[in-house]
Subunit: 381 residues, 2 copies
Amino acid sequence: MGPGPSDVHPRITEALARPTIGHLDPAFVGMMDELKSLIQYAFQTQNRLTLPVSAPGSAGMEACFANLVEAGDKVIVCRNGVFGGRMQANVERCGGEVVAVDDPWGRAVDPAKVKAALEANPDAKILAFVHAETSTGAQSDAEALCKLAQEHNCLTIVDTVTSLGGTPLKIDEWGIDAVYSGSQKCLSCVPGLSPVSFSEKAVEKISNRKSPVQSWFLDMNLVMGYWGQGGKRAYHHTAPVNALYALHESLVMLQDEGLENAWQRHGDNHNALAAGLAVLGLDFVVPKEERLPQLNAVKVPEGIDEAEVRRRLLQDYQLEVGAGLGDLAGKVWRIGLMGYASRRDNILLCLSALGNTLKQMGCDVDPAAATAAACEVLDNK
Amino acid sequence: MGPGPSDVHPRITEALARPTIGHLDPAFVGMMDELKSLIQYAFQTQNRLTLPVSAPGSAGMEACFANLVEAGDKVIVCRNGVFGGRMQANVERCGGEVVAVDDPWGRAVDPAKVKAALEANPDAKILAFVHAETSTGAQSDAEALCKLAQEHNCLTIVDTVTSLGGTPLKIDEWGIDAVYSGSQKCLSCVPGLSPVSFSEKAVEKISNRKSPVQSWFLDMNLVMGYWGQGGKRAYHHTAPVNALYALHESLVMLQDEGLENAWQRHGDNHNALAAGLAVLGLDFVVPKEERLPQLNAVKVPEGIDEAEVRRRLLQDYQLEVGAGLGDLAGKVWRIGLMGYASRRDNILLCLSALGNTLKQMGCDVDPAAATAAACEVLDNK
């Protein structure tokens, strides 16, 4: 129950362990077509250029920036956590110019600040922001931010690593131009793959670049040849065959559940966990209306050694929760309720384990009351 | 029995499907230390900066070039197949200047030409070549080429994707500065990871770069923080946990067999296959003394539709062999004898299946005599 990788469903590890076939085998190529459709469904997009990058979410991020940013391009980057900062590093390494829009860690991106930045920088070409900040648990209003970008003729690059499958995300309806995610959060697949999708406008910019994409491995002009619709598949790199079996299975499971149902489940389970955490006297970092249901960042109580709590949870309960990163290091725990891990037994385990551990360490808390509060929410949803 | 991915041993898929734990879990961090030692053994190196890149071999290649090549650096690139050409593309995307040394596809790199290029370009900083060309089955004399580079104060970048575990490779003894490989060839692990290793001289160049590495994901200055020796592990990206379990298992198996024994096995099995192919009248692309035992490129007989042969092998025998790439497209088959796939039953299957298919298509061949010739070699080794 950390910030990812989340628990992997047994159906997915079973798929992962199937016999490895060639990455150009006709049976595998058929699966690639299905996989593309499944990712399109998860992203709610018809974008032709939709595929899994053969590497973790950080590489998916780099795929978006390296393909869309050319030297000298001005990019507005929203920074309200670790991953906004990483976006900035990506822009800089592509030779782009960063205009930073800062919000406090633990808050959503403020659309008013973005609007001001867009107005002050009419030559900006791209707006980049994180939909679901894994480092803080804050969710930004991607729809509103994309609308602003469109009004100012900017393309958008959006990090949805933690939102995909856990919280509403509608690429086409919101008009997102480039999006990347990860396999190991709300999809409950193994880590190592990054679904990405590019709009026609983004593809046009990529196709008309003045300079080649600086990464050969991530150059979408080349990757497209392997993931292209039907027809001949050009060899680009050896695909991670088994990991793709697993991603396929995880997306079939998401389709079986239904996206809206998955969003609802993540929301309901978050409400239950939040009710229990409130009974334990633990405060959220993020204001209620900006909270991600799948990533719950709570403040460590005064005087408690946060690392010792995590150590005991792991040792005594085999339960992992995440530490804080960056500005929040040592100050918060991050409790994931992602994908297969977002379920009743985990909520109760977490509340009992955390409650009992805090009690042992001298806090005046009532673990039984916390689990009861969570059950009440779940039973009355 | 294509050019990779090779057959994955059941022990390795079993490891792959183990429960996913956190990438910062103490138990996982312990496994990372073991993994580093195991890769050091496989590469025969003591290099501290030795780790698996979280992406396929093409990303490992890019990791070497993006870290070592700075804009304006002159790099001598040996081109005798597809992957030498890809090296050139990598140098160019890093802003380096390429001096190409060309040899025919199907031949080893000619040390005399490399010597001449080094002498003609005293300002060259790096020599890059492919040890084992997967596209042709040619093996170059890495030891001799590295010696030449050292005599001319050049660092070396060497592609060992197909050689690691299958043919002698001695990083420290030969003085290779940067090396990358793949998980899916002679290690018989699933595709998707790229073991890399950098000498102290290479690390010094990386640490003293004038410009940042253009890839954030592949920047060894950052990756080192996660794979660093002991101590605190800094979060960089979410490691592909399950794939690393599998790589660990494959390297334990290599250590159990012993590197020298693995090399011997690949050599013996190649001799047996070659004896059988000779009986079928199939000629190798590569002269005997330059052949890779694990990748056998043979010429398609006159008048035979090579794609139809591959289609029948796959359909009738569930046997994959590889097609030709680039200059050799349509002219050759590439038969892999890599890792777990390099064994007696596969040799016999391949010779019977290929022999019978060619016979059906009108060739005057004797499949039984071919398998007998292979058995004779194996029984008398």
